[in-house]
Amino acid sequence: MSSGTGTDTARLGPRGRVWVGRPSAGPREAAAWSRRQQLLTELRAIRGRAYPRIRGLFREKSWLFFEILLPFLSTSAFVFVYRALAAPAEYVGFVVLGGAMTAFWLNVIWMMAAQLHWEKDQGNLELYFAAPMNLMSVLLGMAVGGLVMSGARAVAVLAVATTLYGVTFSVESWLLLLVVFALTLAALYGLGMVLASLFLMWGREAWHLTQLLTEPIYFVSGLNFPVGRLGLLGALAIATIPLAVGLDAMRQLAFRGAPSFGTPQPEIEALILVGMTVVFLAAARLALRILEGLARREGRLTVRWR
């Protein structure tokens, strides 16, 4: 029997008390969740959104071929360009590292940035807005699920290419390298969260934007060469694109003595990544709040195929 509050979970229990997983005096009290309840719900939302991505990997194995083997071959093409030019060995290492990091970038633009737009087309977005959870949890769940797939791809590209092409790493500081890697992922997925909101507002242009964010970003981020070689353009990329600054820092740390063409020290680049993470997460939170307001006020955001 419904309590008449409009919520499905609130039900009249023994002696007229309202139940929401526990007895409460009335709907108002039932709606006032404790911090623990809120936290558990958000964690469930993260798990729930990550689940289909992780589970899907085991249900359909074709991604192993298309997401791991083929991108490895694509990375190999750039290795052979350097071989054709008789480039120094560390340049092959640059390509391999860049090839591994593209997995995360592609995941960010295809499965984070464009995802809310697709969720709208599929009719899920209105459910997200209506559910008693923060949309940030949904985005975090997407990121966790996507990280599993892209992490597998990155490790495979790195391991196979390193073995096959004889890449030798000369790591200056493993700890800093791991910290920079983690910060790069945090900043990348933070950017993905911001883009998810923006793509949703831009509607169908999202489709074209995903195209714009592949090769042009690879170029300005110096995916296959030291980004410092691009001069002012490279400096701008380091200041704004997590892939550019993260890759440059990782290259400096993984290939000691390799040319950096005047880019900042890895420690400074790690600080830039910290700043980016904070800014992107705050911007994502703000953008989602604006979006939620728009969704409630105008109802446009749940209209499909626009």
Binding site: E67, L73, V81, E215
Partner: protein, 312 residues
């Protein structure tokens, strides 16, 4: 109670069930092309659309140009026309393959129209090719502008008086046909896979990039992979276009110690050899695509994949 009269002959207009032949196929194809263009482009801001379409191939070419400049310096510049032409032409491959594969995903997962298109009278393959043609046209625009930028800004020497136009024409027609065939092959794959297959066309194009001699000569590759490259029709398409545009440029297929020179005994293939190889490998690719597409279509009907959505 009155009973309805039983017709002696079924009330079916034979004209409605018989195929209208080529004219009807052409009408269906044109309708699919218009649908593809409407889905892809006609709603967007023309300037933004132009930027989107051109930025991708131009950036791909610039990545390679910078790589050559960093390592090769002045001595590497002779490779620049080779690389610019290869990456410009490659935008046809990416756009062509993606156009067909994405039309399956678009119509099934996003617009949920694939089931209706499938049961409509025209051939399903014809509709897919029509849908993919719009994206191929966008790829052509990207290729032309990348080549134009190469000529104007990067010093790529294209002399219209020295271009072998017949070879260029035949190679381009054969190459575009091969790209459509590869697109059909990938569309067959996407009929079987989940929504996550959006990135598959890029992955396939990326892997073919390695074996087609798009941006470096095949002779750099290990011999077994060179043989894979020689069996790929895109290799011969690129070689034909390059030979037509830059008669004195480096060869993608031949060269010292290349698999071609060992097998054929000549330093590099000439125009007729390239066209013959393009036709032969293209015919094999077409046969493979036809078999795989028929199998995929049959399996999709059997398992209800045509109207399945698989959001993740």
């Amino acid at each position: 109670m009155t009973t309805l009269p039983t017709p002696s002959t079924p009330h079916v207009d034979p004209g409605r069930v018989q195929s209208g032949g080529l004219a009807e196929a052409a009408r269906a194809f044109l309708a699919a092309v218009r649908l593809g263009w409407a889905t892809e482009a006609n709603w967007t801001d023309p300037f933004l659309f132009f930027v989107y379409s051109v930025a991708k191939p131009v950036s791909a070419a610039l990545i390679l140009v910078v790589m050559i400049e960093i390592v090769g310096g002045a001595s590497g510049r002779e490779l620049r026309p080779y690389v610019v032409a290869g990456s410009a032409l490659w935008s046809f491959v990416v756009a062509g393959i993606a156009g067909l594969a994405w039309s399956v995903l678009d119509d099934r997962e996003r617009y949920r129209m694939l089931r209706y298109l499938y049961v409509s009278p025209p051939s399903f393959v014809l509709l897919l090719v029509g849908r993919g043609t719009a994206r191929l046209a966008v790829g052509a625009m990207g290729a032309a502008i990348t080549l134009g930028i190469g000529v104007v800004l990067l010093g790529v020497p294209v002399d219209p008086a020295r271009i072998d136009w017949p070879l260029l024409g035949v190679a381009m027609v054969g190459g575009l046909a091969v790209i459509v065939v590869l697109g059909i092959l990938l569309a067959a794959v996407c009929l079987q896979t989940r929504q996550d297959s959006w990135s598959y066309p890029e992955a396939v194009a990326g892997s073919l990039f390695l074996v087609s001699g798009a941006v470096f000569p095949l002779a750099v590759l290990p011999p077994p992979i060179q043989l894979v490259g020689l069996a790929t029709p895109l290799t011969w398409w690129l070689a034909g276009v390059r030979l037509a545009l830059f008669p004195d440029g480096p060869t993608a297929v031949g060269g010292p110690n290349s698999a071609w020179s060992v097998l054929a005994g000549t330093p590099a293939p000439a125009g007729p050899e390239i066209i013959a190889a393009l036709l032969m490998t293209g015919a094999l690719a077409t046969l493979a695509a036809a078999v795989v597409f028929r199998w995929s279509e049959h399996r999709a009907r059997e398992r209800g994949l045509i109207d399945q959505t698989s959001g993740s």
